[in-house]
Amino acid sequence: MEKQTLAIGGMTCAACAKRIERAVGKLQGIASASVNFATEKLSVEYDGTRLALQDIEKKIIDTGYNVLKTSAKSSATIPIGGMTCAACAKRVEKALGKVEGVLSASVNFATEKATVSYDPQQAKLSALRAAIENAGYKALEAQKSGAVDEDKLRKEKEIRALRRKFTVAAIFGAPLLYLAMASMIWWLWWLPFPASLRPMQYPLNYIIVQIVLTVPILIAGRNFYTVGFKAFFQGSPNMDSLIAIGTSAAVLYSLWASYDTIFNQNFGSVNNLYFESAGVIIALILLGKTLEAISKGKTSEAIKKLMGLAPKTATVIQGDKEIEIPIDEVEIGHVILVRPGGKIPVDGVITEGHSAVDESMLTGESLPIDKKPGDKIFAATINKNGVIRFEATKVGSDTALAQIIKLVEDAQGSKAPIAAMADIVSGVFVPVVCVVAVAAAVAWFWYTKDVTLALTIFISVLIIACPCALGLATPTAIMVGTGKGAEYGILFKGGEALETTHKIDTIVFDKTGTITEGKPEVTDIVITREIDEKRLLLLSASAEKGSEHPLGEAIVRKAEEEKLEFLPVINFQALIGLGIEATIENTHIYAGNRKLMNEKGISLGELESDSDRLAGEGKTPMYIALDNKLAGIIAVADVVKKSSEEAIKVLRNMGITVAMITGDNLKTANAIAKQVGIDRVLAEVLPQDKSNEVKKLQEENRKVAMVGDGINDAPALVQADVGIAIGSGTDVAMESADIVLMRSDLMDVPTAIQLSRSTIRNIKQNLFWAFAYNTAGIPVAAGVLRFLFGGPLLDPILAAAAMSLSSVSVLTNALRLRGFRPNRSI
């Protein structure tokens, strides 16, 4: 299966998104197709052996939309030395033009600079420099403008085009409205009204001027007709179809009234002109679309901020030279120099120098981290105080920053289950509205024999019912919510995670590395009479040398501190959830928890009381048995994170049950739990049983989140309704989780839940308004109030204003989420 994301152009409402989903979904070989109306992207999964990407693109185009190509175009200005005349400039231009991937090259002899536009996929800046050098000139240090953000440019272009169209529609629409509505604003008698345009004296003048004013507006809104009628005749009407049908009905009826006035001399028909309805509807909808496009741009500001973190250039060491090259030309293996205050351009490993690196933009950790040769550093982090050289290990889309951006982008493009209802409604909404509009118009005509009234109702129903707000309600809030999460270092992997998180009523924390720092230290060594402390530590540390368990590592570190020389080990074996066994100098060793001792039938004997005491102090006793006889206990304690207690307090105050799960013995677990305020403890749980414990909680009808960091937590993270991996954890944990916390601060857990709750509340508000506009607007537009109580009808112009307002209000509400602040004082 192959996965692709395509940028789609020409969509105007949620019905368009459904239409594309349906069209693409019908292709043979498509596994899934999902269109996000807010991001205007199609995520498609397909069988590459049965279907080519071009087939999918063709289908989209056939359906009436565009596939937007995103060729990353770059431009660079290269100062050139050695030119003596205009012919030199021409020669350089020619040389640059021959480089594959160069789109245009222009050399200014006066400024001695070449401006080159090129595709960075095909041409590198070094190739451009080489071409200049080969032509006999000197290529000086290039100034490369950042890669052109085509998506941003496209959006800006779209906003400009919409603004231009709206301006045209407003300029022609305002006098048209004034002309048509003059009779309704008679109380503004002092406003001038040309005598030669009085409808009952000069009806033809009145008609001509109205048509002259209407035509430019129709041209400005021509997309509504080209897209709308195409969709209508293809059997999948969308929002454009409603506007196109509604305004066309108004225009056609007005043209008929004009004909009747002029050629049948039924001058009373001049009162039946509705050009202004069509014109003002288009103007208002263009205004709504313009505001919508501007607001949509703001919803993705968080991702733009992330993208802006990366530096544009890197200083590469080549021989003795320092060469500044564009970031996309850095290759794995390049040695890069970063001076104090400089940004790390790509991921790598330090080869020379020491420094403190500020990683707050990635991890949220406010204190700079000391880095030395051999340590990893990451793109976009800041070198604080030392000169360092490092070898690039991950570049381009492989850097940690790029991965985070991709994660956020994917999440923003994904759908939440709550969107399903809006999707279903959007899918059937437009055809239903068409039927309602026709039925209402026919009923009113039958009831009153008034064509004008029937037409007004027909147009009003079509216009008020445009479902754009419905299509925007969920994705815009998810975009802002996930973006806001990224700002706080909380990466939601999708809309579903964001939605489910707000339902969480139980959180299970893994102990080691989650509630605690995960760097335990040896605190006590208790021995039997047959061995001394040093020998016990040496044997157990030698045995644990091959272990990756944090407790084992603590023992190894202690031995290293004591400068003990490790002994050779044979037959090492990790006993999952229990400990290890090994043989050293013909002595068989078991090192592990109490369960291991029980399983092997080893009695604790005289150390039983010490064991209980240590566990009661929150320390983890590691039992060391030599040749199946307990030789001693090494107690290891982990430091509780500063934020754990506060985070758990906030969670409990939020009404969430907090549990702790650990493989540790019950006494130790209880001691830690008491320290941080947890009242439900799941202790002595084997790694493979962690997911079962989560399942048991779920069987109590709880919505369970699991917070963990280790490989052993991965099954539980998957089993939980929401898996939350903390940033210092393993890749496997992060892969398995639904939410990744970029830093190790547990306060981010309540923040994630609060953000989810805020986002879902925002989505519900959006959906309420979107549905309210339509459910209240349609009956009013259909004349129900008039029929029942002789109440008001909805003028088509007011319908258009209300419809535009609905989209704008939904977007404005979604943008309110940008002001989200976690409440830590609950």
Binding site: S183, W186, P199, M200, F267, V270, N271
Partner: protein
């Protein structure tokens, strides 16, 4: 920013110019005044249907269209000069209104110009100082056509009754059917009742005139209803 503002202002000016231009061009290229044109032809059709066609008053140089019952008449100028007081007017018998309580002393003087000589009241207006210029023979129709040209705004279409009308004074009109084949009120004299009621007339007691609400439109197209004294005639 400045350029954009100038651009927008230019666009608005262009728009205004375009609207005026289109309207004037349309007028110049072909006559867009379809009401003015058809009002004259239907006026002729109405006159042709009268048993007693309009006659000219040689003294006043005015055409007189007398209602079939003889109680009202529409006068319009055949020649216009600066010393004349009124160029179009409607005159009607004072008697029905006096019988209905009219105190003649309360009427404005200009309404009583014909009272002594003819026992009639009158309402009318001065059109222009410009002389009427005829291409050919002076007839009732050609004079009416001149008046339409001279003061086009006095002639309009009354959609509710499918009538054309000429306003002889504020709220006082003479209307005629656009299409007599489809109308039972081919000629209607319309009086604004306010001045008469203010002078003591009880509308319910006026004989020979109907007192009714009439749907009307103002110059901007606003629809409203107003009470009028009406004297309608079916000329068929």
């Amino acid at each position: 920013m400045m350029k954009k503002t100038i651009g927008k202002m230019a666009a608005v000016l262009l728009l205004g110019a375009l609207a005026v231009y289109s309207e004037r061009e349309a007028n110049a290229a072909f006559n867009t005044d379809i009401i003015g044109q058809t009002a004259v032809t239907s006026f002729k059709a109405m006159i042709d249907a009268l048993e007693f066609p309009p006659v000219i008053d040689d003294m006043e140089k005015m055409w007189i269209l007398t209602a079939p019952d003889g109680e009202a008449a529409f006068w319009w100028r055949a020649e216009v000069s600066s010393h004349q007081m009124l160029d179009t007017y409607l005159c009607f018998d004072a008697e029905p209104f006096v019988n209905a309580g009219l105190d003649l002393n309360k009427l404005p003087a200009e309404m009583k110009g014909m009272l002594k000589e003819r026992d009639k009241l009158m309402v009318g207006r001065k059109l222009s100082k410009e002389p009427l210029i005829y291409d050919g023979e002076v007839t009732a129709i050609s004079s009416f056509e001149q008046i339409v040209k001279l003061d086009r705004e006095t002639v309009g279409y009354h959609a509710a009754l499918d009538h054309y009308g000429v306003t002889v004074a504020d709220g006082n009109l003479v209307e005629w059917a656009k299409d007599m084949g489809k109308n039972d009120k081919d000629l209607v004299f319309v009086l604004d009742p306010k001045v008469l009621i203010d002078a003591g007339v009880d509308p319910s007691k006026v004989e020979g005139w109907a007192y009714a609400k009439v749907p009307l439109e103002d110059s901007r197209g606003r629809k409203f209803e107003a009470e009028k004294f009406l004297k309608p005639f079916d000329l068929k």
